[in-house]
């Protein structure tokens, strides 16, 4: 890209030079022609005048006239000869050889009187008709005009040279600066490829396109690093939350096998193993589901349904469970909250929230009026809002964001049964449906608010 920038700079400089050379060249030619035309026109005028005046004048009188004109200062050149070519008057030493064959005149060189020998000046001349026995050539010295033209040409040439040089230097400098910055990006990329994912491309602070690009690349790197860390965290967690129960499963099978009681012990051990395997399967399924949700793959099964009704139904499923724990489950749902979503996934999310709320409220030693779990659904400013509030231990401010992540079970809850995936599954379901999950203080207890976009009004 750097050399490309240099090439572009050089090309545009060249194009600029060519165009200005054309314009200046045209101007120069035009001026030159104009000056020459002017001289030739003047000559023709004088020739006509002399032709008129020469009528009736004898040769001697004409010679006097010519002598007068030739003596005047200026650029006028004259030569009067007789029919044989002998000079009678004028300031040209002899008939120019260059014009011998040209009856209408032309350009020639001549030595000016008083100049050093060998120096010839440029002139233009035409014949004037002054009768049959004499010949008159009138001309103009155009050396100065030529000199002027040469000066203009020189000026233009120097100008163009300087311009071209400046353009090339600017292009080179630009190319080199761009190149060196790209080299920085390259070097950073290579060291990242080498495994140092924490490296970032330094910004020049010029806030130009390259800085923009670097910023985008840095943003991309941040996201990748975040995902990688997430992945690492997940695999660490898998190692812990799947391997630990697997080990327990293995231990219980071993213990049963060693048990001297025999058949009864085997049966107990096998039953325990099946239970532990089932728990593992649950964890595994939840994990897979979250992974699939995060890849966003269930759009096909989205349907339109009344969210209030679903929340009510799912909460009702948990009502007897709450009652068994000495808790009151308050269900308040507005009718007619239409959403377009996967009904089973939303149901699972509400079930997880209700299950958590009951689980964490159950062990608390609260007065009767606080032995309540509230499940609500309502429409609020364009969103459907599901709110599940408990009177459990709650989650501290600093832990709330972490609690939504996969496998995170805050220390206090490690002893509770469950996969530790409940809330993160809710968060994944929310994200999939362009919704969000908030954890709030229920003072005391935890309030989880799940928002989902309302379905557009049906046609």
């Amino acid at each position: 890209m750097g050399t490309q920038a240099f090439r572009l700079a050089a090309a545009s400089a060249a194009a600029f030079l060519i165009v200005s050379a054309l314009i200046v060249g045209a101007l120069f030619l035009q001026t030159n022609t104009l000056l020459t035309d002017h001289v030739v026109e003047e000559l023709h005028g004088e020739a006509a005048e002399l032709a008129r005046e020469s009528q009736g004048l004898d040769t001697e009188a004409l010679a006097d006239k010519i002598r007068q004109r030739a003596a005047a200062t200026g650029t006028g050149l004259y030569l009067l000869t007789d029919a044989n070519g002998k000079k009678l008057a004028g300031n040209l030493p002899e008939f120019p050889a260059a014009l011998a064959e040209s009856p209408t005149g032309g350009v020639f060189r001549y030595p000016r009187a008083g100049d050093a020998p060998g120096i010839e000046r440029l002139a233009v001349a035409i014949p004037a008709d002054v009768g049959h026995d004499r010949r008159l050539l009138i001309g103009r010295d155009i050396a100065e005009q030529v000199e002027f033209a040469a000066r203009v040409k020189r000026t233009f040439l120097w100008g163009f040279g300087a311009l071209a040089l400046a353009a090339m230097i600017a292009g080179l400098a630009m190319g080199r600066s761009v190149l060196s910055r790209i080299e920085v990006i390259n070097a950073t990329s290579r060291s990242i490829m080498g495994g140092d994912l924490s490296r970032r491309i330094p910004l020049s602070g010029r806030e130009d396109e390259l800085d923009d690009l670097s910023q985008s690349l840095n943003g991309m790197l941040d996201r990748i690093e975040q995902l990688m860390n997430g992945l690492r965290e997940v695999s660490d967690n898998i190692a812990h939350d799947l391997k630990t129960p697997l080990n327990r499963l293995r231990n219980s099978a071993e213990a049963a096998l060693r048990d001297p009681r025999g058949a009864d012990a085997y049966r107990e051990g096998l039953e325990g193993s099946i239970e532990k395997a089932d728990d593992l399967i649950k964890t595994f399924n939840a994990l897979l589901l979250i992974a699939r949700l995060e890849a966003g793959v269930v759009e096909e099964t989205a349907e339109r349904f009344d969210l209030g009704r679903l929340v009510h139904d799912v909460a009702e499923l948990y009502e007897p469970v709450a009652e068994e724990q000495g808790l009151t489950l308050n269900i308040e749902t507005e009718p007619g909250i239409e959403v377009r979503a996967n009904r089973q996934l939303i149901g699972q999310a509400v079930a997880n929230l209700a299950d958590n709320a009951i689980k964490y409220s159950a062990g608390m030693d609260r007065p009767l009026e606080l032995r309540v779990v509230a499940v609500k659904a309502r429409a609020k400013s364009g969103f459907a809002e599901i709110c599940v509030a408990d009177r459990g231990p709650g989650i501290e401010d600093k832990d709330r964001e972490r609690a939504l992540r996969r496998f995170v079970r805050l220390e206090k809850s490690r002893t509770q049964p469950g996969t530790g995936l409940g809330l993160s599954l809710v968060a994944a379901v929310a994200r999939l449906h362009a919704g969000a999950v908030r954890l709030e203080d229920n003072d005391p207890g935890l309030r989880v608010v799940l928002t989902l976009p309302l379905a557009p009004p049906s046609p």
Partner: protein, 226 residues
């Protein structure tokens, strides 16, 4: 009951064959989709158990082919893919039920038995009776020994499903799917709580319990011990 198991994992297939035999059914095995399809086309089976991912011809194609040929044999799909989407795809292809691996054999057995019963053209029964427990589907009235029992709408549906499958094991997942129409994991055993509530209404105060817990499997409504 004749079952055709189309499953490419030999160990799983043989386990199913052995288990089904022990449960009083007969089972044929097919190791790939093509063989399975040919056997299903020629043989007479009550139930097909079809794995989704099979060599040569995948499970869904086998089912679709059979359905377009007019073969209406009940199909239970077995799959490692347990997503909501996968389930819907399986049922759309013509499957009657969908079970995700890994599964408990009791769950599989309960489901194929339920499918086999469904396959028998059901005369429109308006009344279920088990022992002295009677459920009238027209008036939605439930009586035991002539005495009316007050049930919540959900409890009524729960009992209705259990009585429709009287004498057969009904698993918790089957109840969740058929009574509540939920295809997700409710985390805790919510179903147990609902069943024990129902039990307290229909069995409490009677000598002979009708709603039994089948250990490691589920529940059964039956006149007599399990």
């Amino acid at each position: 009951m004749r079952v055709l198991v189309i499953e490419d994992d030999r160990e799983t297939a043989q386990f199913l064959q052995k288990s089904l035999k022990e449960s009083g059914h007969s089972a044929d095995l097919a190791g790939d989709g093509e063989t399975g399809l040919a056997m299903a086309q020629s043989g007479t089976y009550d139930i097909l158990v079809v794995d989704r991912m099979l060599p040569r011809l995948d499970g869904l194609t086998v089912i679709k082919t059979l359905r377009t040929e007019g073969n209406r044999t009940a199909v239970l799909i077995l799959s490692a893919l347990g997503d909501v989407d996968d389930r819907v795809k399986g049922l759309r292809a013509g499957g009657d039920d969908y079970l995700t691996k890994p599964y408990a054999y009791t769950e599989l057995l309960a489901r194929i038995e339920a499918l086999a019963r469904r396959a028998i053209p059901e005369e429109q029964e308006t009344r279920y009776a088990v022992g002295d427990l009677v459920l009238d589907r027209l008036s939605h009235r439930v009586t035991r020994a002539g005495e009316a029992i007050q049930l919540q709408p959900r409890e009524y549906r729960l009992l209705e499903y259990l009585m429709k499958n009287a004498g057969q094991v009904v698993t918790r997942t089957m109840l969740l799917e058929n009574v509540w129409d939920y295809h997700f994991d409710p985390q805790t055993n919510v179903i147990d709580v609902h069943v024990s509530r129902l039990r307290s209404k229909i069995d409490k105060g009677f000598d002979k319990p009708l709603l039994h817990t089948v250990r490691g499997a589920g529940y059964m409504v039956r006149d007599g011990a399990v």
